[in-house]
């Protein structure tokens, strides 16, 4: 694990995140393979499910993965944490250009982002750009806060604790 991390620190394959505007987040990363390979890993369910939920995400796994990656097609991902309860994420593909671009909606909530992933050839490698645009600033911030491991929960617990005492 540590070895992997230092390899990445030495290489140029670093994952970068940038908040482009109030409503937009962009993640970029280089992959050492041509775009059609990266597109394949993204568009075939049996390959996609091998990486979308990395093992380090504690206890969560992808229990179902249906995807019809073509313009107008739909997807549905179901996550589980060992018990019988699952959480579903779904939406449809607005635009798919093989080896170049996939655009999809995130329809599980009222304020889901529209996500665009592009695969650009850079001298035999692929620059992957993962762009999310949210309907509002608040929706983006809620999504970001949700991915900040534990922080919102910690604050909620603390608030609950503090509300029982007077300051």
């Amino acid at each position: 694990m540590d070895q992997q991390r230092s390899d990445h620190a030495l290489g140029q394959n670093r994952t970068a995140v940038e908040r482009k505007s109030d409503r937009e987040l962009v993640v970029t990363r280089m992959f050492d393979a041509p775009p059609h390979i990266v597109f394949k890993a993204w568009s075939q369910a049996d390959l996609f499910r091998r990486w979308w939920v990395p093992k380090s995400a504690t206890g969560v796994s992808l229990v179902a993965c249906d995807m019809d990656v073509r313009t107008g097609g739909k997807y549905r991902l179901e996550f589980g944490a060992g018990g019988s309860d699952t959480m579903a994420f779904y939406g449809k593909y607005l635009d798919v250009v093989p080896d170049e671009r996939i655009v999809w909606t995130n329809d599980e909530g009222d304020e889901g982002a529209v996500t665009t992933v592009t695969f650009e050839e850079k001298g035999g490698k692929t620059l992957l750009t993962f762009h999310e645009i949210y309907p509002s600033k608040k929706a983006l911030e809620e999504a970001l806060a949700g991915s900040a491991a534990g922080l919102p929960e910690q604050l909620d617990q603390l608030e609950a604790l503090l509300s029982t005492t007077t300051v």
Partner: protein, 118 residues
């Protein structure tokens, strides 16, 4: 993780009040003068000044006086929280893309082996 500054106790004491949480939420949308905050929360100017002072001590809010108007905006602590959100988002994607990298290396190798046989 988040750099809590100046101290945890001050931050959490500041967050324990509903009005002060409301003020933070409001300032998250736009900077505001103490007068407009007092109006929005139906309080006296003196009452709002006290709340803002508590938030300011905790580093949650910064104030700046321009002419006769004191404007409030989110403080460093809040900016740190955002930087932390971005960083955990990045880590999340990095773990995901490291896993994708493995799949891609494998596919790339398969394809090279395939074309070598042809």
């Amino acid at each position: 993780m988040v750099q809590y500054s100046p101290s945890l106790d001050l931050s959490f004491a500041a967050l324990s009040d509903a009005t002060r949480r409301g003020v933070l939420e409001q300032l998250g949308r736009a900077d505001a003068s103490i007068t407009s905050l007092a109006e929005k929360f139906h309080m006296t100017l003196t009452g709002m000044k006290k709340h803002v002072a508590v938030l300011e001590r905790a580093g949650l809010v910064m104030t700046e006086k321009v002419g006769r108007v004191r404007t409030c905006k989110l403080g460093e602590w809040s900016l740190d929280a955002e930087a932390d959100w971005i960083e955990s988002h990045r880590k999340h994607f990095e773990a995901r893309f490291d896993a994708l990298d493995k799949v891609i290396i494998e596919l790339n190798q398969e394809e090279k082996n395939g074309s070598a046989k042809e």
